[in-house]
Amino acid sequence: MPMVTRLLQIVAACMMLAGAPANAQNPTEYDVKAAFLLNFTKFVEWPESVFESPSAPFRICIVGEDPFGETLDKMVEGEKVASHKLVVDRLKRGSSAGGCEVAFYTKADRNAAQSIAREAPHVLTVGETDEFLHEGGVIRFVLDHNRVRFDVSQAAARKAELKVSSKLLNVARRVEDEP
């Protein structure tokens, strides 16, 4: 019984402390991924023709489950790509990301492959699963020793008619050039 009492004491103490506002030391994986998504918009070139007008928004779409919470919304607030205001849209799993400039698929989405295959050109597809590049995705996030890195498929970028800057390719962990 004393063991159980002590356990409860510890848990109770923890609960009280959990109520306090905290200032986490390291950002979370998805905080950093959100910052990367924003950065990708600066190092990839979309043809101006994909936008209906100079004032049309630049859409970052999250397909399926949203792992970012409010972080991504806060991050894109007030940001622009050329004259296009950045906005975040959330799409149902399995829906087409046509009309989006960036489409992010969470690792929970196992059928992303079918969606990607259907995507129109000019969509920068970003995912997290091991197979994402082989399924036709352009950029895949990987966790490497608790650091967020990314791989790029040049072939998929070409197919999507997107120009990826050499600066982004230099920072990539791996650049693949086979379909």
Partner: protein
């Protein structure tokens, strides 16, 4: 003295680090100020253990991360192992532990295999691990993978009850300066230093050095024999040429003085005496590894190492040189992944006798081990069902040929669930302590003669065998709750036993060469044999929960039931009950990690271990706490309290005489990283 030096260093570093690039963690949008290069270098807190490949393997594996170790406040590898379920860590005295997995814990634990960066630290003389000399800079440990249950197919002989794989970080991840120093009541003083650099062309390196002095634990008789001093230094170089080839060269040297109490028996008077003295322990190793990744994903790895171990203890001495070569290849063909490899090890040990009560004959022997293995992972249903078949084949100087087959089946109905089952056969190969060892103990006077009992050598000692049946289940529930369960039934035959070997008689000549002729004495003959058998059943459950971004809770409960029997018609010195009563039936622990405001961290650990009747150890529960404060300029001040619930408690009876109490301890560390 320390505080003024510390303050000076603090001021210096504050000045140096005035322009820190680290963003304020509380506001993620500040991350957008960073360049993509900087973003790639930021360490993130991962949500749970789930993303590691370990989550999707049909083995009872638990990964203790470097972060877990750092936040637990431990200062030795054995104490770090307390974080894993199914591992029974019991401290004997200041510098000795008994670490078993799923039962059978002893001072050396002969059925657990321990590797540090792929180098086996299992001693072929006494079979097991001398934990007091297994060390590295804990800050540089990437992770400790603890495999409960047999891992013989891949890892080789003696991985019967488990494998402990200590893996240090790549030098890519230890760039820059790390220095720390501190002290307290048991940890009287320590200093750690590491520097990592690179040549900018794919070559990275680090060098480290550490030193410590530790005080004795609690002794009812006030004979404080177990104080401990040591120093260790080492290096590692990693070099990669593109994606294809990577090379690692690393090495360590160490020197320690470990206070210990040993019983020394001799046929020449005095017949027996307990000696308190220092063990002079030193050694070094150097390892080289070459890994090649082919474009199609196939890999091979070639590794070689040399290890030198010197042990000069008050009752024996040993000098050992070990050479090892290992080759592993992995090839994917359609739905199958083949892994195969071969290894060879030669280990020359020279035994140095101190007293006639503890003798190896012959004194100088080269042990060898030859291994080969083949494993095939077959995907039966894409992403859902995998079958793994494999076996190790091995030969040693004590066993002509043995094999360690395994069959494992893994079902992943969804991305977040793994269900697995396995059958494995594992072997503990005989060691020199089983086959050519004479161990005597003085029992008293009988009819005016000295009476001894002696375990004589046994050239017919057979391998210890085990058939293991395991099941496991892992599930990620929601985003933040992770559950890991494993259950086992292990059947053992030909287990190590201490047999009486006939009636007492008067002995005139010893069966091994001795410079001094012993006086006539009475002897009870005994021998190490394979006359125990039986089974163990049990399971471990290890949940991990991250209720908020800044609070992580992990815990585990382990249950073990041992049922051992002696072979009929045998008379044993050590009974089945003495083995069963040396491992805890219940173990539980809870660890809570908080990231508090103002860059404060608070960690609390609670643990419970049930009693060990054969060791006269009662059940105990105790707790550890660590509070750390990190400045924006990467200086960290931490205070750690360990074993806080009582002034001292006992964990294991391993020394001659009385139990040694493990003290409540407190220490302070100042660390800086640049």
């Amino acid at each position: 003295m320390r505080s003024s030096a510390g303050r000076a260093a603090l001021l210096l570093l504050l000045a140096l680090k005035a322009a820190s690039q680290t963003p304020d963690g509380g506001n993620p949008t500040s991350l957008k100020q960073l360049s993509i290069e900087q973003l790639s270098q930021i360490e993130v807190t991962s949500p749970s253990k789930a993303p590691t490949p370990a989550y999707r393997s049909p083995v009872a594996i638990y990964v203790i991360t470097g972060e877990d170790i750092r936040r637990s406040g431990v200062t030795t590898l054995p104490d770090a192992l307390r974080l894993a379920p199914g591992v029974e860590v019991a401290q004997i005295d200041g510098n000795k532990w008994s670490i078993g997995i799923r039962g059978f814990g002893t001072r050396l634990s002969r059925s657990v295999l321990v590797l540090i960066d792929g180098r086996s630290v299992y001693t072929p003389l006494f079979a097991g691990t001398y934990w007091e000399v297994q060390d590295t800079l804990l800050e540089d440990v990437d992770r400790i993978e603890v495999i409960r249950g047999p891992g013989g197919t891949i890892w080789g002989p003696n991985a019967v009850n488990g494998v402990i794989n200590i893996i240090t970080k790549s030098t890519k991840d230890t760039q820059g300066l790390y220095a720390s120093a501190g002290g307290g009541n048991v940890e009287q003083g320590f200093a750690n230093f590491r520097y990592g650099g690179s040549n900018g062309e794919g070559l990275t390196y680090r060098v480290y050095a550490k030193g410590y002095t530790r005080g004795p634990e609690e002794h009812p008789d006030r004979d404080n024999f177990d104080d401990w001093r040591g120093a260790q230094s080492g290096f590692r170089v990693d070099w990669s040429r593109g994606e294809r080839d990577s090379f690692t060269v690393q090495g360590d040297v160490y020197k320690e003085d470990d206070g210990e109490r040993v019983g020394v028996s001799s046929y020449v008077p005095p017949s027996t005496v307990n000696v308190d003295g220092n063990a002079d322990l030193s050694g070094g190793n150097v390892l080289a590894r070459w890994t090649r990744k082919f474009d199609n994903g196939d890999t091979f790895q070639f590794q070689t190492y040399y290890d030198r171990t010197n042990r000069y203890e008050p009752n024996l001495g040993e000098r050992r040189d070990t050479f090892d070569l290992d080759y592993i290849q992995q090839t994917t063909r359609g739905r199958q992944v083949f892994r195969y490899g071969a290894g060879a090890r030669a280990s020359n040990g020279r035994f140095l006798e101190v007293a006639s009560g503890l003798v190896f004959d012959p004194a100088n022997v080269t042990d060898y081990l030859l291994t080969g293995f083949l494993e095939d992972d077959i995907t039966l249903v894409d992403r859902k069902l995998t079958l793994m078949l494999g076996s190790k084949f091995l030969r040693t100087n004590f066993t002509p040929a043995d094999f360690e087959p395994s069959v494992r089946l893994m079902w992943t109905p969804t991305e977040k669930q793994t269900i697995w089952a396995s059958f494995t056969h594992a072997v503990r190969t005989p060691s020199r302590a089983d086959e050519d060892f004479y161990l005597s103990s003085f029992l008293g006077q009988s009819n005016g003669l000295e009476l001894f009992a002696r375990f004589n050598s046994n050239p017919d000692f057979a391998p210890e065998l085990m058939n293991g049946y395991e099941v496991g289940y892992r599930k990620l529930i929601g985003k933040n709750f992770y559950l890991d369960f494993a259950g086992f039934f292990n059947h053992y035959h030909d287990l190590f036993s201490q047999d009486l070997d006939g009636s007492p008689f008067l002995e005139t000549a010893l069966p091994f060469p001795e410079p001094v002729e012993p006086p006539l004495h009475a002897l009870i003959p005994a021998q190490f044999r394979n006359d125990l058998y039986g089974q163990t059943t049990g399971g471990e459950i290890a949940p991990e929960w991250k209720p908020t971004k800044y609070w992580k809770l992990r815990g585990s409960y382990s249950y073990l039931h041992m049922d051992l029997k002696k072979a009929s018609g045998t008379a044993l010195g050590g009974t089945p009950q003495s083995v069963e009563g040396s491992s805890p039936q219940h173990e539980a622990d809870v660890q809570s990690s908080f990231d508090l405001p103002k860059r404060l961290q608070l960690d609390l650990i609670y643990r419970f271990v049930s009693g060990l009747p054969a060791q006269s150890v009662a059940a105990y529960s105790t707790g550890d706490a660590r509070i750390a404060w990190r400045t924006k300029s990467h200086i960290e001040l931490s205070v750690v309290g360990r074993n806080l619930f009582q002034p001292f408690h006992v964990e294991y009876l391993g020394d001659p005489g009385t139990l040694v109490g493990i003290r409540r301890s407190l220490y302070v560390t100042l660390a800086w990283m640049r």
